[in-house]
Amino acid sequence: QSPNECQFRQINAFEPTLRIQAEGGVTEFWDPYNQQFQCGGAHLYRHIIQPRGLLLPSYTNAPLVAYVQQGQGEFGIVVPGCAETYQSFQQSEQQGGSSFLDRHQKIGSYKQGDIIVFPESAVHWLFNSGNEQTVLIVLQDTSNDANQLDANPLRFFLAGNSQQSQGSSQQGQREQGRKQGQREQGQREQGQHGGKQELMTERLREQLGYNGNILAGFDVQIVKDALNTDMETAQKIVGERSQEDRGHIITVDRDLQLIVPSSSSSSSRSEEQHQTRKQGGGSSN
């Protein structure tokens, strides 16, 4: 920052100016290049997640504080080193025993009025299991000591399509470089003729990582070996087999079998029904 950059003489109120649309919702950004916000050292954006929308697992370069303005659903934060303390069993009548269905780290539910903190670099996801859209106001504190990268509110997605997934990594890189050149050329030309908003949105989407899947940057064979899985699964994980760009918020068609503790007796009837639908089999914490 230049010495005089943050000597305010006037403060303005702003609406979000940039939108990144996805299949299951939209993220609206307040201009991250706005001088006033840059002086504040943090960035704000608003996730609007439609019912059954899943914000794909991702992590950020700075801690987040989110306010749930509307909606309800589930979220999870995967903290490295923590155990998978939520587990479910399936009773096997023939053998008289039980077998694991799944186990994962603790997940939480959110509802209107909640504040949620997502630590930097910890993978998190969020699923709107309610009937109305979820509106989440998020602050990303890029000037936090935890961030050693630049001041952009970066997000690293672990899933989704990536432009690079269309070919091998090196080939994709060259292709991407060529496309980048074409894009920049196009941006210069189009910028002269208007469409600035769209260009800024596209630029923002790329710069902040909203069109990326970090696994797509690895060779698919490496992903297959590292995950000890088959090639088809590996290709799906790096986004190679997906034909359409669903964006960073996808719509989930199936019922999610998330392990959620039973509601307490004081919970409302509607909440109990909600939990039962998700829970499926027996579960324990």
Binding site: V123, W125, Q148, F156, A159, L215, A216, I222, N228
Partner: protein
């Protein structure tokens, strides 16, 4: 006083001794860390270091450092290294050799796979307690996610997602298959 802190501080610690390894697999290799917990002076300078040894055709699973940049210097052998940024772009994809240095920025994902002669390196991290998060393995991010979130995210069946989680046996290392483009037998 200063004499009680800096003047008598222990500033040296061997990192090559195999008996000090934090992560060890006789087939794959080992990884040893030094941070403010094992060498407190690192807390003053807010740095840490690590030493890695990787045997031929073994790799370190994709991972990212949560709170530091990593400067990696190759002390012996070679490895194929890929580094991926937040856009999913491969920003490094090459065989690194003895004597070379490269940077892995904070939060950028990296995978290393040893070459024919194995791979040995020392790394310097810009945080006194560098923390890593793995993308695969028994203690990885994927292992901590609900199977159905994995299934939905990657368009897999629930059973496929469950088996994916169950098959991730290792924690830190993976063995390259013969069909791997980086495998010594594939002749890439």
């Amino acid at each position: 006083g200063l004499e009680e802190t800096l003047c008598t501080a222990r500033v040296r610690q061997n990192i090559d001794n195999p008996r000090r390894a934090d992560i060890y697999d006789p087939q794959a290799g080992r990884f040893t860390t030094l941070n403010s917990l094992t060498l407190p002076i690192f807390g003053q300078v807010r740095l840490s270091a690590a030493r890695g040894i990787l045997n031929r055709n073994w790799g370190v699973v994709p991972k990212w450092c949560m709170n530091a940049h990593s400067f990696i210097y190759v002390t012996k052998g070679s490895a194929q290294v890929q580094i991926v940024n937040h856009e999913g772009e491969t920003i490094l994809d090459q065989q690194v050799q003895e004597g070379q240095l490269f940077l892995v920025p904070q939060n950028f994902a990296v995978v290393k796979q040893a070459g024919d002669q194995g791979f040995e390196w020392v790394e310097f991290n810009t945080n006194e307690n560098a923390m890593f998060n793995t993308l695969s393995g028994r203690t990885s991010t994927l292992a901590g996610l609900p199977a159905d979130i994995i299934a939905a995210s990657y368009d897999l069946s629930s059973s496929k997602a469950q088996s994916l989680k169950q098959n991730m046996n290792s924690v830190w290392f993976y063995q390259a298959s013969s069909s791997s483009p980086w495998s010594s037998s594939s002749g890439r």
